[in-house]
């Protein structure tokens, strides 16, 4: 028998990582400060969670300069989309 709990992705257990994936799954290229405002978290906290998502290959990073200020934006990868989609389906099937 398939156990849906096993399909829950440990990478998305934290509230912040779940939030980042939610925002990126419906928006293209979101910058750091917008994410910070949407999720209401501190710089350091967000940065460390983003790094772990990036290491897992769930999101891609773009660094650019806008008005001489560095701006870092994030986009979800195919792998991230798939992983997050599976996590969502697992959550839903657990609640049925």
């Amino acid at each position: 028998m398939d156990n849906p709990i096993k399909k829950l992705n440990k990478d998305f257990e934290s509230r912040v990582r779940l939030g980042v994936m939610s925002v990126l799954s419906v928006n293209e290229w979101v910058d750091f400060n917008t994410l910070k405002d949407l999720l209401e978290v501190t710089d350091g906290n967000l940065a460390s969670h983003i790094r772990s998502l990036e290491t897992n290959g769930y999101l891609e990073v773009k660094k650019q300069f806008v008005a001489r200020k560095p701006k870092t934006s994030y986009n979800i990868t195919q792998k991230g989309k798939r992983a997050f989609g599976e996590h969502l389906s697992a959550l839903e099937s657990l609640l049925q």
Partner: protein, 216 residues
């Protein structure tokens, strides 16, 4: 079961974050109600003015452009502009207040997207109407402001609450009817910008504003 609660909480949070990051949710019902009242006052002012000069809107449309027509036309344009500026200021004020209350940021990427989607049809319609007025097609001004305003609202529907799409469709329909019966353009204008906004505002207030008030 505790686990189930956490999963439910997670799903709810995901849904909320998705909505908050793609939609501007700080549009207030009060802005719609205020815009509607202003438009009705503006329409009443237009009728009173024309009445005082003993010309009807219908005859104004057929007057050749010149001294007799230019004063009433200037009055109508100024009247509409004042309504527009006051209604927009009201919308900004009430949105700002609502965003502040709910702790949302008013100037976000979503706001920019929403404004862009509104601006394209509105600016196009505005320029078109000015050209038409200059070419003595005054009868098309009131209907076309309704049509393009409606298009702007439908266009913006993706980035805010869905009710705005229904308001947009109502405005487009009324604008098309007003094009067909352009001699009654002022009445259609008053209905479209006045009455519809009030209905929309009340709907929005009942659905969203009241909830935030009762939850503190």
């Amino acid at each position: 079961m505790k686990k189930t609660e956490k999963h439910l909480h997670d799903l709810n949070e995901i849904r909320q974050i998705m909505e908050r990051s793609t939609k501007f949710l700080s549009l207030s019902g009060w802005a719609g109600i205020l815009a509607g009242i202003l438009a009705i006052l503006g329409t009443a002012a237009a009728f009173l003015y024309l009445d005082n000069r003993a010309i009807s809107y219908e005859t104004l449309l057929t007057l050749p452009q010149g001294d007799t027509a230019s004063a009433p036309l200037s009055f109508l344009i100024a009247d509409a502009m004042i309504v527009l500026v006051l209604a927009l200021s009201g919308a900004v004020f009430f949105s700002y207040r609502k965003a502040k209350k709910s702790g949302e940021k008013i100037w976000s990427p979503v706001t920019k997207r929403l404004l862009f989607q509104l601006a394209v049809p509105l600016v196009t319609g505005g320029i078109l109407v000015l050209i038409l007025a200059g070419q003595r097609n005054v009868h098309l001004v009131a209907p076309f402001t309704l049509v393009f305003y409606g298009l702007a609202l439908v266009n913006a529907g993706k980035y805010t609450t869905r009710e705005i799409v229904w308001l947009g469709i109502a405005e487009i329909t009324t604008g098309l009817a007003a094009t067909g019966w352009s001699q009654h353009g002022l009445w259609f204008w008053g209905a479209g910008f006045g009455i519809y906004h009030i209905i929309y505002g009340i709907t929005l207030y009942h659905k969203y504003d009241r909830k935030t008030v009762t939850h503190g």
